[in-house]
């Protein structure tokens, strides 16, 4: 399938080499949480992209949930000295 040698030859102008793409795709794949479960052979690009989209969506959802939680926490309790101490201990 990859008989597009001509493309890689023109990679200087505006073509992107296949290697680069595969490299980036595998980079993404390594970031996904199920990377260890999957077999050693690389998944197809479509599959990696789909998993990436799903993962980003789930992370967005988590951020939303955490924002809810944080806003409730910050609303109910004023910035007491205990809170400030905790925050400080987290950041140092």
């Amino acid at each position: 399938m990859s008989s597009r040698r001509t493309r890689s030859r023109q990679s200087s102008s505006s073509r992107i080499s296949e290697e680069q793409i595969n490299d980036l795709v595998s980079k993404l794949e390594a970031l996904l949480p199920e990377a260890s479960i999957r077999s050693n052979s690389s998944a197809s690009a479509a599959r990696v992209l789909q998993d990436t989209c799903n993962y980003i969506r789930s992370l967005h959802r988590e951020v939303d949930d955490l924002s809810e939680r944080l806003s409730e926490l910050l609303a109910t309790t004023d910035t007491t000295s205990a809170q400030a101490a905790i925050i400080r201990s987290l950041l140092m």
Binding site: R4, K27, P33, L49, Y55, L59, D64, L74, T77, L90
Partner: protein, 205 residues
């Protein structure tokens, strides 16, 4: 720095076209390692707290409180990225429409050489063999919608941005969860049980 591994193979025709991709040299896990360091998390945590404090001072956490928190978190995340990635710039520009905030980030914002509309490069019509096929192109489009500011990017840039964004999001979730857990543990004298948000997959190292 090693420039051999995966960078574009034509350094001769520099300036415009070839350097557009300007892949960062280094191991493939560089994006994740960058965001995984404790230092990054601390920096982000500090910014997050600052943002939360200032947004609280402005308005009481009413029904819109969650959204304010999320925006503060996203802005803090984008700031921590120091404007070096397209998605972070998109977030910052979107929020404040001013470069003032970027200057505030310590002047370390580095603009890529090309202007924002990347129309000329639109690789979608001519993808390499690995990225042909309707399925892949559709998924790329979906991904471009998810990552802020990447709608018109070429395929490799989009993939790179997505990797960075993903690692950054993981860090954001981790930091926010830590903060929320600590605050809720302090708010109630008996330690509160962990929230159902823990059902999300924990990123393996």
């Amino acid at each position: 720095m090693i420039s051999s591994s995966s960078s574009s193979s034509a350094p001769s025709s520099s300036s415009a076209s070839a350097s557009r991709i300007k892949l960062r040299p280094g191991p493939p896990t560089q994006a994740r390692n960058k965001w995984r360091t404790g230092a990054q998390e601390r920096i982000y945590g500090r910014r997050l707290v600052e943002a939360l404090r200032s947004s609280r001072a402005g308005r009481s956490a009413a029904a819109g409180g969650a959204r304010a928190v999320k925006e503060a978190a996203d802005s803090a995340l984008a700031l921590t990225a120091r404007g070096q990635s397209r998605w972070s710039r998109a977030i910052l520009f979107g929020r404040f429409r001013r470069r003032k905030l970027l200057l505030k980030a310590g002047g370390k914002v580095r603009r890529r050489r090309r202007a924002r509309p990347a129309g000329k490069f639109a690789a979608l019509p001519h993808p390499p063999a690995a990225l042909k096929g309707k399925k892949v192109r559709d998924r790329l489009r979906v991904l471009a919608r998810l990552v802020p500011g990447c709608r018109k990017l070429s395929a490799p840039s989009l993939l790179e941005e997505a990797a960075d964004y993903l690692a950054a999001l993981e860090m954001q979730v981790k930091a926010m969860r830590t903060l929320a857990d600590a605050l809720s543990a302090a708010a109630l004298s008996p330690p509160s049980p962990p929230p159902p948000a823990a059902a999300a997959p924990e990123p393996e190292n």
